[in-house]
Symmetry: C2
Subunit: 403 residues, 2 copies
C-alpha cells in the first residue's frame, strides 16, 4: 500500500490554471530576448474582458438581505432556486428535471464533478477516462483510489464528432469499468460529440451497467449553428447518469462558485450526503445569483458567443498558418488544443519559457493525458487583440524551441 | 466489498442541521396538543439574531470590483489575504504561521475539515474519533473508507477538561491509528481541553507518529475567562498537525463559506492539491470578507460573547432545574449537549415530535456517537427570549415522552 505522500504525488497542481505563481523556475533554459507585449493568461478565461452577467452582484446582495434563511440552505440548495434552475435546465436540455429529487446546487462545477465522482465510485473501481480530457478527471480517480482506464479519442483525424474509440470503450466496460466520465464539448479540444456517438455510449452504458457523468460545462457556447445533443435527452439515456454544468465559463460567474448537477435521484441523493461533509452547501448568498443564469438580458448570450467566435477565428488563422502546427477547430467552448512540431525541451519547460519570455501562460498538454507532450491548451476567452498578439508571440517562442 | 449504495448508508443527512425539511415524518407518535410559540431551529445559529460582522457585505463588493484577479485566486487563496489571516491567526494562537507555506483558505471550516482529513488518511487507515464529537467526523472516515476507532470522553463526570480517556487513546495509537481528529472546544458539549490533556495528546502523537487535526471552530467564544490552550502553541506540539478554524460561527459569516487551515506545510500542500479537485478555491469574491475577521469593530466581539453567555446562563438555569436532566456547562462556543431521563421513544422520534408539537429543532445525540440515545444538542446562538421559551417547551414535550 502506498503512503499518503505517494498518493498525492499524482495530484500535482503546479501546472493548473492560476497556480503559475507557485512554479519553480530554476530549470528553464531561456533562449533569446524577451518579447514585449501585454501578458495573457490563457490558462483560464479573463472575466474582466468578458464580464459577468449584468445584475449578478445585485442578486448576491439580495441574498445577504435575506439573512439566515439564505445563509443556511438545504445542502442541495434553496428549494425555490432549485425549482427555477431545474425549469431552465429542463428547457435547455429538452428533459424534465424534478427539482425535489433530481438536482443539486454545488460550489462550482468542480464541486459538482467531485461529488458526482465520489458518489459513483469506490476505492479499487475502474473508471474510463478519455485522452485528452479535463485534467482533474484523472486526479479525481487517483484521490478516490480508483484505477484509470484510458480511452483514446482521435480528435485530430476524425471528420466529425469527437473521434472516441468506441471499441476500446466497450472493451473497457467488458473488463469491469463501472463509471465513465467525459466532457462535452470536450475539454481541451472543443469538439462536440455527435448524436451517433452519444447514442452508442448510452447503449454500451446500459448494456454493461455503467454509470455515466457528462460534464457539459461549456455546452451553451456552441459556434456555427452546430447541432448539440445532450446525453440526458436521448431516448436510451444511461439509467444511472448525471449531467454537470455551471455558470463559471461563458457567463463569467466563477467568482461566485456556483454549479449544478442533475440526473438519477440515487446519484443526487449520494451527492448531497457527500456535500454535507465536503462543504455543506454552495455559498448561501451566492445561490441567489443563479436567478440570472439562463435568464440573461436579451441578446447578451448571442453577443458573447459572437465575440468568442471572432477571437477563435483570428487565432485559428494564425495557428493553421504556422508550419508544423495541428489544431482542430473549436466547435463549442473557449478552448483550443494546439499540437506543435517536435520541440527539444519538455512541454513543461516550453510553458515556463513562454511565460518568462513572452508573458503568456498556457496549460501543458500532459495535464490532459501523458502522451500530449507536444500540445498545449489555451482558453481564448480573453481580450481579443491581446489574445491575437499573445498567440503570435507564442509561435515565435515555439520557433526558438523547435527540434 | 460493499457497494457504493452500502457505503453511503453511513452518510445520512436527514438529521443534519438545515435538513429537517427532508425528514420523513410518517412514523411519529404525537402526544398531546401542540404548544404554541415562536419556532426555534437549535440545529444551527440564527444569524438574523446575531448578524454578521459589520462591513462584511461591503468587503464582498470590493472583491467583485477587483474582477478577474479576485475571481481566480491561487487555490490556497489570494496571497495578500493569506498574509493578513496568517498574521492574525499567529497573534491569536501565539505561533508563527508562514503565509506562503503553512496556511490555506477554504470553502468554510467544513471544507477545511474535509480536505485535512483527505490529506491525512487513506482507505483502510484507522482514525481515532472521540465520542461525543462533531457528527461529520465519523462520516468523513466512512467516505474516505477508513476505520473509526472510538475514544470515550467522560465529559459529564470529570471535574475539569474534556474527560478524554488518554489510556484508550494510547492503546488506539499502539493498535495502529495514524490520525486523530478532535474539536476544541468540543462539539457538542462545549468543554475545553486543559493544557495537561493537550500536552498528553501531543506527547502520544509524537511518540506513535500520529497526525492530528484540531478543529478550533469555536475557539474565540470562550466564557468566564477560562484559559484556552491551542495545541499548535505547545512546545511539544505534534510534528504533523493542522488546526482548522473559520468565521462561520461566532462571527456569523456562514453565508460566505469561508474557513482556514494552518499547520505543517506537508499537510497544507496536500490540502491544496485536494482543493484543486474538490472546489478549486474558497469563493473568490468572498475571500475579501476575511479582512474583517479578527479585526472587528472595538467591543463587537466582547458584546457578542456576553450576549451568548447570558443566553447560556438562562438556558442552563432551566435545564438544571428539570428532573433527570444532565448537562455540562458550556465553557466555549454555543452548544449545549443535554442528557434527558430515559424516554419511551427513540431520540429521532423525540426530535421529530418536538419539531411538530413545539416548533423546536434539535440535533439528536446519536449524530455524535451511537450511544447518545437520550441526548440532544442545541446551538443557543438564537434570539434570547425565543431560545428560553423554546427550551421550556422542549422540557414540556420531554415530560410527555418520559418512560
Amino acid at each position: 500500500m502506498r503512503t499518503i505522500e505517494e498518493k498525492f504525488q499524482k495530484l500535482g497542481v503546479e501546472n493548473a490554471p492560476g497556480q503559475e505563481v507557485r512554479q519553480k523556475t530554476d530549470k528553464v533554459a531561456l533562449r533569446g530576448e524577451p518579447i514585449p507585449g501585454r501578458p495573457v493568461d490563457f490558462s483560464h478565461g479573463d472575466v474582466d474582458a468578458h464580464p459577468p452577467i449584468p445584475g449578478s452582484a445585485e442578486l448576491f446582495m439580495s441574498g445577504v438581505a435575506r439573512g439566515g434563511d439564505q445563509a443556511y440552505t438545504e445542502y442541495r440548495g434553496t428549494r425555490s432556486i432549485r425549482e427555477d434552475v431545474a425549469r431552465k435546465l429542463s428547457a435547455f436540455t429538452g428533459t424534465a428535471i424534478d427539482a425535489e429529487h433530481e438536482i443539486i446546487i454545488t460550489p462550482g462545477t468542480q464541486g459538482a464533478l467531485f461529488m458526482a465522482m465520489g458518489a459513483c465510485m469506490r476505492a479499487g473501481d475502474k473508471v474510463a477516462i478519455l485522452e485528452p480530457d479535463y485534467f482533474a478527471n484523472r486526479k479525481l480517480v487517483a484521490f478516490l483510489e480508483g484505477e484509470v482506464v484510458p480511452i483514446p479519442m482521435d480528435y485530430l483525424n476524425c471528420r466529425e464528432g469527437s473521434g472516441i474509440d468506441l471499441a476500446r470503450l466497450e472493451q473497457a466496460f467488458k473488463d469491469g469499468v463501472r463509471l465513465f466520465l467525459f466532457s462535452n464539448p470536450n475539454n481541451p479540444t472543443g469538439v462536440i460529440y455527435t448524436a451517433e456517438e452519444l447514442t452508442a455510449i448510452a447503449e454500451l452504458a446500459n448494456r454493461y451497467g455503467v454509470s455515466v457523468i457528462a460534464d457539459e460545462l461549456y455546452a451553451r457556447q456552441v459556434f456555427d449553428n452546430r447541432p448539440y445533443t445532450h446525453l440526458c435527452a436521448l431516448k436510451n439515456r444511461p439509467e444511472q447518469m448525471v449531467t454537470i454544468i455551471g455558470p463559471s465559463k461563458t457567463e463569467s460567474l466563477s467568482g461566485y462558485r456556483l454549479g449544478a448537477a442533475f440526473g438519477s435521484w440515487q446519484i443526487i441523493d449520494r451527492m448531497e450526503k457527500l456535500q454535507a461533509i465536503v462543504s455543506l452547501r454552495a455559498p448561501g448568498y451566492c445561490q441567489r445569483v443563479l436567478k440570472t443564469w439562463f435568464d440573461e438580458p436579451a441578446g447578451w448570450m448571442e453577443a458573447r458567443i459572437l465575440a468568442h467566435r471572432r477571437i477563435r477565428d483570428d487565432l485559428m488563422a494564425r495557428l493553421t498558418a504556422a508550419e508544423g502546427v495541428s489544431v482542430r477547430l473549436t466547435e463549442a467552448g473557449s478552448y483550443l488544443f494546439v499540437k506543435m512540431p517536435p520541440l527539444d525541451v519538455s512541454i513543461g519547460e516550453f510553458a515556463r519559457a513562454l511565460r518568462l519570455l513572452a508573458g503568456v501562460v498556457v496549460t501543458p498538454g500532459t495535464e490532459f493525458g501523458p502522451q500530449f507532450t507536444d500540445c498545449f491548451r489555451i482558453n481564448f476567452s480573453q481580450d481579443h487583440a491581446a489574445a491575437v498578439d499573445a498567440i503570435e508571440r507564442t509561435l515565435q517562442i515555439m520557433e526558438r524551441y523547435k527540434k
